[in-house]
């Protein structure tokens, strides 16, 4: 019974990807209404931006909620919390034989101005 409880805890708690953050220049938090742009590998970061920090999303080994869109959604929450309005994917590993998860390295930036006009990735629901 104890083993079963441990298994259940691992399964329930371990479903999110592991996030490593390195936020060197956090800014005042943004509101939920502030728009955040997603820049994929092919999208370029505009000039005159301030780098807030970086995030690394890895497979915890038990991760199941780790699709590309789901990770970007989590990154957006971190971005707003730290005052960033650009989420830039700098490295992307797609699911393969070793992991069923997307593994992303992300940089967060603060851009003065409207991010809606930037060429960007449009988030969808899985």
């Amino acid at each position: 019974m104890e083993r079963l409880v441990v298994l259940l805890i691992i399964v329930v708690a371990g479903c999110s990807p592991k996030i490593k953050s390195n936020l060197t220049n956090a800014q005042p938090a943004l509101s939920a209404n502030d728009e955040v742009a997603f820049l994929d590998l092919k999208h370029e970061v505009p000039q005159k931006v301030v780098k807030i920090g970086s995030l690394k999303f890895q497979d915890s080994g038990f991760s199941t909620d780790c699709s590309f869109n789901s990770i970007l959604n989590k990154a957006r929450l971190e971005a707003r919390k730290n005052g960033a309005n650009i989420v830039k994917v700098v490295e992307k590993k797609e699911p393969d034989l070793w992991s069923s998860c997307y593994r992303l390295n992300i940089d967060l930036y603060k851009f003065e101005g409207s991010v809606s006009s930037l060429p960007q990735y449009k988030l969808t629901l899985d």
Partner: protein
């Protein structure tokens, strides 16, 4: 006949592997309705349509829902993942495969609206959550935004 009595429990055991995935599936239907109708529904800030609308969502994620309409206070809620009781079927029937498969497919969860948070945060007194077996139906009566001023009323032409 004797063989049948041996085969039936074994077949049942095999069929009931991954209980929650078989019974509930990896997605759950969430229906949205509002008063007045034609309010825009957003899930994780992605527009999914105007009410009444429904969406099949993966069970292994949490979702932020917002229902907005000009002139009315926006409504927002969180769809949280809760434990799906069908997962216990794996334990009852000894389905080791199901213990692994159900978390992977997300079927060990069911989506459920966080009712209390939604009411406190938004002052929408007429929010109805209805769970019909597995589906969730969210019906919101949007309150008029007091910051908007009524300047006129369209009348039906004779």
């Amino acid at each position: 006949m004797k063989n049948l009595f041996k085969i039936l429990p074994l077949a049942g055991l095999l069929i009931l592997q991954s209980c929650a995935t078989i019974v509930s599936g990896s997605r759950q239907t969430i229906r949205f309705n509002s008063m007045p109708a034609a309010a825009t529904v957003y899930i994780n800030e992605v527009e999914i349509g105007k009410t009444p609308v429904e969406k099949d969502l993966k069970r292994n994620q949490e979702y932020k829902v917002a229902i907005k309409m000009d002139g009315y206070k926006p409504y927002s809620a969180t769809l949280s993942k809760k434990f799906n009781e069908w997962y216990i079927g794996n334990i009852v029937f000894g389905g080791i495969i199901g213990l692994v498969v159900d978390p992977i497919t997300g079927a060990m969860y069911k989506l459920s609206p966080d009712e209390v948070t939604a009411r406190l945060a938004n002052d929408n007194s007429d929010v109805v959550f209805k769970s019909n077996r597995d589906d969730v139906h969210i019906c919101v009566s949007l309150n008029i935004d007091p910051e908007w001023e009524k300047v006129g009323q369209l009348e039906r032409a004779e």
